[in-house]
Amino acid sequence: MNSKSIYKIPGGKLVKISLEYDENNNTISSVKITGDFFAYPEEAIETLENSLKNTEIKKEIVLKKINSLISSNNIEFIGLNAEGITEAIMRCLQ
């Protein structure tokens, strides 16, 4: 299944998610995180997207995974955060 969402981070920027997911297993097949935010280093967004593949689409699990990727890849977001990305991903299922 494919789904999209647009979410305005409170106090931040707009994040757009394009999600392809496996309905049977409730997992992410692929995800694109786009928008007018800032992330340092920029290329880390692709690492984040790739590493989210096969993650179960449950709020706590997605959030935990993103937080651990932020810390292991030393990502600094401006106008975006792990909660916002998670929220935007969850909204793809609504």
Binding site: I6, K13, T34, G35, F37, A39, I45
Partner: protein, 254 residues
């Protein structure tokens, strides 16, 4: 004696060339081949630049660009889509370790925007920094800014709106829903201003650049010495232009 940085003016370049030069200067500065550099530039033909993380096809009506002769390019910096027509664009390249550059990214935005604010003041325009990355005057946006840090070097580029054609801008930008296009246009008109609008008359690029130059010199207590791109930078920028900024793989990659 004041520290001397390089001052560049490059007018009327293509979108790909402009972005290639910013990246070439970043690389050259990171290799200590050139001093910290402030460049002012314009775009010809007019162009739309999108932030690194944006989806080109979702943000920009590519057919419309073609029809209107507007170029498009993906930046190496984050942030939003910008229509570059009547504006002065600046870029600054400086080592991350430079004492004038705060280590904290948000603080460094504020600091570099301080130079633009001083420049606007030289044009008799009062303005202030509006986090995350705008400068506003009378509550309306007059400048947007975007920074990247690569190779232990800071590149920040941004716009000073000299004049603005919101209708034209929106004819090129995609909106989530056509029904709200008119509403978005009127909202943006409420939120965006320009040097021309604030002063009631057109200011030449030369006059604006001179005001901005003094703004950067004042903010950083330095002297900007007019210079040229080195052969090394010109070669690098040719390479980046060809391999990256005019390459569909790059521009369409998200």
């Amino acid at each position: 004696m004041k520290e001397q940085w390089r001052y560049l003016i490059t007018n009327n370049l293509s979108a790909a060339k402009n972005m290639a030069i910013d990246r070439a200067v970043l690389v050259a500065n990171s290799e200590e081949k050139v001093p910290p550099t402030v460049r002012f530039y314009t775009w010809s033909p007019p162009a739309i630049s999108i932030g690194y993380f944006q989806s080109l096809s979702e943000e920009v009506d590519l057919e419309k660009c073609k029809k209107l002769g507007v170029e498009y390019v993906r930046r190496i910096t984050g942030g939003g889509a910008v229509f570059h027509e009547e504006e002065l664009t600046y870029s600054i390249v400086i080592p991350e370790s430079h004492s004038e550059i705060p280590k904290n990214i948000m603080d460094s935005y504020a600091r570099i925007c301080g130079a633009v604010i001083k420049g606007l003041k030289n044009l008799e325009i009062e303005s202030k920094y509006a986090p995350i990355n705008d400068i506003i005057s009378g509550g309306k946006k007059i400048s947007g800014n975007a920074q990247t840090r690569k190779l232990k070097t800071v590149l920040q580029h941004g716009t000073v709106l000299m004049d603005v054609d919101v209708e034209k801008m929106f004819s090129i930008l995609r909106v989530p829903n056509e029904k709200i296009r008119d509403k978005m246009i009127s909202d943006v008109k409420q939120r965006v201003t320009s040097v021309k609008h604030l002063l009631g008359n057109t200011v030449s690029f030369e006059k604006a650049a001179s005001a901005m130059k003094r703004g950067f010199e004042g903010e950083f207590d330095i002297e900007l010495i007019p210079g040229e791109l080195t052969d090394y930078e010109l070669n690098l920028s040719d390479e980046f232009e060809k391999d990256c900024f005019s390459n569909p793989d790059w521009n369409h990659k998200r």
